[in-house]
């Protein structure tokens, strides 16, 4: 029995591992085969707000496709699409999306929903931007050198923030301008702890408002519209892109039933909808 214990531990480990792998092919949510799994690259806002958790199990039931969600910034999501690593994208960076679709590897791009961005900051509002429109607000923040926390991750929100700076002709730099390189939830947290301003999508802000010391200071400006599109990828991006899965997902998310569900999402918990469903509408007609 002298050298039995390491052997025993190893045996136990292997046994456990063995059992584990046998149990594997039946994931709890669905009885479908694991091979039919598509990769959805999307933004942190759809995951951090909880929307996908609510919608996706139903898609799996309806279609038999498992969805592997990669919640990254819109910039990275588009890059994953370009490389053929993702089958379908749900993103909110319209300028970058149009350029990407023009490259030719992407298939259909359809309007799904919108909400809006809000400029949030500490209630004390050191730069006095409450109630101003978004460009005047960021110009005043820069003039006052009040702390602004940027995503800095090439996400859709980050792209919009950079647009605002561009419109006022300011290149933000200096100790007052800090980039976290993280998702929306984490960036809101940093802004809250450091009493700084930041630009957030409304859904993520509302979902976390209770744990943040940040108020909405500027909203309702057409420049703050946040529009989500679904983009199907094609085999031009890569041989292994699952075109049928991409189409199934895109068709599903713009279908009337799901659109209604998107419109209802958040009402029970936050007293207001987090997203406005827009499938089939003309993008130019949207207002915040």
């Amino acid at each position: 029995m002298r050298h039995s214990i390491p052997a025993l531990v190893l045996a136990a480990v292997l046994l456990f591992v063995g059992c584990g792998s046998q149990a594997d092919p039946a994931p709890p949510a669905a009885g479908h085969s694991a091979e039919k799994a598509l990769i959805l690259a999307t933004t942190t806002s759809t995951q951090d707000s909880g929307l996908l958790d609510e919608l996706l199990p139903q898609f799996t039931r309806d279609s038999g496709w498992q969805v592997k969600t990669l919640a990254v910034g819109s910039g990275q999501a588009i890059e994953l699409g370009r490389r053929g690593e993702a089958d379908v994208l749900l993103v909110h960076s319209p300028t970058a999306e149009q350029a990407f679709v023009a490259e030719g590897a992407a298939g259909q791009r359809r309007l799904v929903m919108h909400n809006d961005f809000v400029l949030v900051g500490p209630a004390s509002d050191p730069a006095q931007v409450r109630g101003l429109d978004s460009t005047r607000a960021v110009a005043k923040i820069a003039a006052a050198q009040s702390l602004f926390v940027s995503r800095g991750d090439d996400s859709g929100t980050n792209a919009r923030e950079k647009d605002l700076w561009k419109q006022v002709g300011i290149t933000p730099a200096g100790a007052w301008y800090q980039a976290t390189g993280q998702g929306m939830g984490a960036t809101l947290r940093v802004a809250s702890e450091k009493a700084g301003y930041t630009l957030s999508d409304r859904a993520t802000y509302l979902a976390q408002r209770n744990t943040l010391q940040l108020d909405v200071l500027s909203e309702g400006d057409p420049r703050l519209l946040n529009v989500y599109h679904v983009i199907e990828m094609t085999t031009k991006a890569g041989d292994r892109v699952q075109v049928d899965g991409a189409k199934a997902f895109a068709d599903w998310i713009v279908s009337p039933v799901v659109q209604q569900q998107i419109g209802r999402f958040g009402q029970a918990e936050f007293g207001q909808s987090l997203f406005t469903p827009d499938a089939g509408k003309d993008e130019a007609s949207l207002g915040p």
Binding site: D24, Q47, G50
Partner: protein, 233 residues
């Protein structure tokens, strides 16, 4: 907040929350498999590094020692690039699966196991092998006796490897993708809960992770101490 987390951890475990249990099961499955594979790779390598007399031994030993500090994110990035659909191993479709996580964690743990095994075996009296051979043991038998002699440090090696992989988040996030019901482990679940502002839940996941690490260490330590006592003269 900490108290909330503690209460929530207890609630998650006691109420048998299905999601939590599947996250725990996956965490254990991935990290224990990776540890077992790292032992299979690392113990022979470490033994060769400790006892072997070949060119490049010192360089390899230094490499293994350096590998102990290998950042999980770097390993994760490396494995991701290999497993991309467009990458060299893309045909297997392994990215964002538990298998990819096992691969990455094995790569993280193997250098730790190899370096610590080498250190453990070099602790044993250098004359031990010589004596065994003199007593007429074959090379294989002498080696077996040596590993048996060093079994207590080797258990510690296994624990160090397990501790490194069960607690890492960088590689698990990158190659696993933190996909619900599929590749979400305790560390990535805690990060997600934090970014959602669900701090009590995040702390609860952290505490569950701590409890698992403690339970496994307790088990092995008890075995180790029992063994140490019973084999004392």
């Amino acid at each position: 907040m900490l108290l909330d987390g503690l209460l929530q951890a207890a609630r998650l475990l006691l109420t048998g929350d299905g999601d939590t249990w599947s996250i725990i099961a996956l965490t254990l499955r991935v990290s224990l498999t990776a540890t077992a594979l790292a032992l299979l790779l690392g113990v022979p390598l470490g033994t060769a590094l400790a006892l072997g007399r070949f060119r490049g031994r010192r360089v390899l030993l230094t490499a293994a020692n350096t590998g102990m500090g290998l950042p999980p994110v770097v390993v994760g990035l490396f494995v991701t690039v290999l497993l991309w659909r467009s990458g060299p191993l893309g045909a297997f479709g392994l990215l964002y699966t538990p298998t990819a996580m096992v691969v990455a964690q094995t790569l993280i743990a193997a250098p730790i196991v190899a370096a610590l095994t080498a250190a453990a075996l070099q602790q044993v009296d250098p004359n031990f092998l010589l004596q065994m051979r003199a007593l007429g043991a074959t090379r294989a038998w002498a080696l077996r006796a040596l590993l048996a002699e060093a079994r207590l440090p080797l258990l510690a090696v296994a624990l160090a490897g397990f501790g490194a992989v069960v607690s890492e988040v960088g590689a698990a996030q990158m190659v696993g993708g933190n996909i619900q019901d599929e590749t979400r482990v305790l560390t990535t679940a805690a990060v997600l809960a934090t970014s959602r502002g669900q701090f009590a839940l995040a702390i609860a996941f952290g505490l569950v992770l701590l409890a698992i690490a403690f339970a496994i260490n307790l088990l092995v330590t008890l075995a180790q101490q029992h063994e140490a006592r019973s084999s004392a003269p």
